[in-house]
Amino acid sequence: MNRAPYMPIALVVLGLALLPLGLTSNTVLNFLSFAMIITLAAQGWNILGGYGGQFSFGHAVFFGTGAYAMALLQVRFGINPWLALPLAMALGAAVGFAIGHLSFRARLRGSYFALVTLAFAEVFRISANAWGFTGGAAGVLVPLRIGPEHMQFADKRLSYWMALSFVAATLVLTLAMSRSRFGAQLVAVRENEEAARALGVDALAVKLKAITLSGAITASAGCLYTQKFLYLDANLAYGPWISVEALLAPIIGGVGTVFGPLVGAVVLLGLGEVTKTAFANLTGGAIPGVDLVVFGVLLILCVAYAPRGVLGLAQGWLGRLKGARP
């Protein structure tokens, strides 16, 4: 296997892994861990939406399924989190396959597919809020049991590194996928489904594979969320906030690129934090939801001026620099 294309991933991950050695404040570590969790959720969205062109507005359905499965398997069934995690991811994949089966077989595309995913997420949210098994409106509390065997770390750096290792794995997976036959067929389906079919691409099977993989990855983000906060309710797990962040991060970072979700998540959350702090200092009190205003403005700016995201902008600038220096 040719290793050269994977070098940038190794460098970026190494750089991120070394960050906590310099930055030791709890706020920064919490921010970094959270950014990694959002990156994971966004990376899942990116495979289906970025590479496959199937825009989902309801990735909360996978995030929430992963998060609830992780919590309930521990609380209700006493399963160790290290075993619960792959089970929760498998469940996320199964939900992905089921939703894909229902919507792609019905030939839903574009905004129709987006609306259906949004509807699924809402159905799951309302059900989780109503059902006793999931803790209803009170939510689920995972008992505090610090120790690596319970996937709860006293040292915040460890939980960051764990999230980072998941991000690293999905970066490698995404790059490997984009260079494979499956990746080429997925992009072909995004660009022109008719033409792809003419070239022997089973468009339905390709989309089903993509949404299954996407579901598993985004579910893993939910698992890490559960282990980080040890508390869940329906609005946290299945709320629209995560659907929005999972799709905003890749769009802002660079849709259909390996690093897009990572760059987007860091930019998005970073700006959100900065704004929240700035407004709190300015007005003397926190204004809830002010970061969402920033997200909205960012989205508008991206759609208008950087349709290929931050990475696309950077590439454009680099290209011009190179062009200026022959």
Binding site: A184, Q185, E194, A195, R197, A198, L199, V201, D202, A203
Partner: protein
């Protein structure tokens, strides 16, 4: 001579409109077979039925003797049937090489093998220097070549070409014809829908003529182009008779002119009785 593709009594209805009406044709292995007809005759519809993009309302399609009527398009592509689109459908966001590689991935699982195959096919159709360009930036002629290259990269046994010459200028057509001939020489059977008659005449071994959904004539291009039914289909009712009458008149004019020339040569006044 065996038929690679055999279309038997295919009918395609869209609601009340019968686009293809009980059409039958055979494509002989190793041939370039043409499908011509006036605009709206149903050529492209018949093509989409053969390629599996539309289900036939009636009739069967046999490929290498097997009934493929019920198979979806991508399975037919795996089986060895590739098509191009009349309205070109490039993957605009990808480079030319990546476009062709999507076709090549059908037979090659490994990336390097698919890319090598894409390069080879790209050079074969004359896209060699443009492989790294974005497909969206190609000229019309370039896009037509790309359609051809992508289909060819799937290593088909039957290639369905839907007006690959339409929209090209005469010199581009001259450049493209040897490419099509070379594909046939490499062992790929071709069924071609085409309006450019000069190309049909020189490329095709056999031509089938479709008019108002029906096959009205079939045979070598030279014969078919003189068929009165074909002339009428293109130029309207009575056209064949008018053209024949015109031919007779022209022949008469020629004869009279010849007479005149001969009588002048003998030094006689025009119109004077022959000696």
């Amino acid at each position: 001579m065996s038929a690679l593709l055999s279309v038997q009594g295919v009918t395609k209805r869209f609601g009340g409109l019968t686009a293809v009406d009980n059409a039958s044709l055979d494509v002989v292995k190793g041939s370039i077979t043409g499908l011509i007809g006036p605009n709206g005759a149903g050529k492209t519809t018949l093509f989409t039925v053969i390629a599996g993009f539309e289900a036939a309302s009636a009739g069967t399609v046999l490929f290498e003797g097997r009934d493929i009527t019920g198979l979806p398009a991508h399975v037919r592509a795996v089986g060895g049937i590739a098509r191009t689109f009349q309205i070109v459908q490039p993957f605009a966001g990808l480079s030319v090489r990546e476009n062709i590689a999507v076709g090549a991935f059908l037979r090659h699982k490994a990336r390097h093998a698919a890319l090598e195959q894409a390069d080879a096919v790209g050079h074969q159709v004359g896209l060699g220097p443009l492989l790294d360009q974005s497909a969206g930036q190609l000229t019309v002629a370039g896009r037509k070549r790309l359609e051809l290259a992508r289909a060819l990269a799937t290593a088909p046994r039957l290639l369905l070409l839907d007006e690959v010459l339409a929209g090209l200028n005469p010199s581009e057509i001259r450049d493209m014809m040897p490419v099509v001939q070379a594909i046939r020489s490499s062992g790929v059977t071709i069924l071609i829908v085409e309006h450019v008659m000069q190309a049909v005449m020189s490329l095709c071994d056999t031509v089938h003529v479709l008019a108002q959904g029906r096959i009205i004539a079939a045979g070598p291009p030279g014969t078919v182009s003189r068929d009165p039914a074909v002339i009428e289909a293109y130029l309207g009712h009575g056209a064949a008779a008018r053209m024949q009458a015109q031919d007779v008149r022209q022949a008469e004019d020629v004869r009279q002119a010849e007479d005149l020339r001969q009588s002048q040569a003998r030094g006689q006044a025009p119109g004077a009785p022959h000696a």
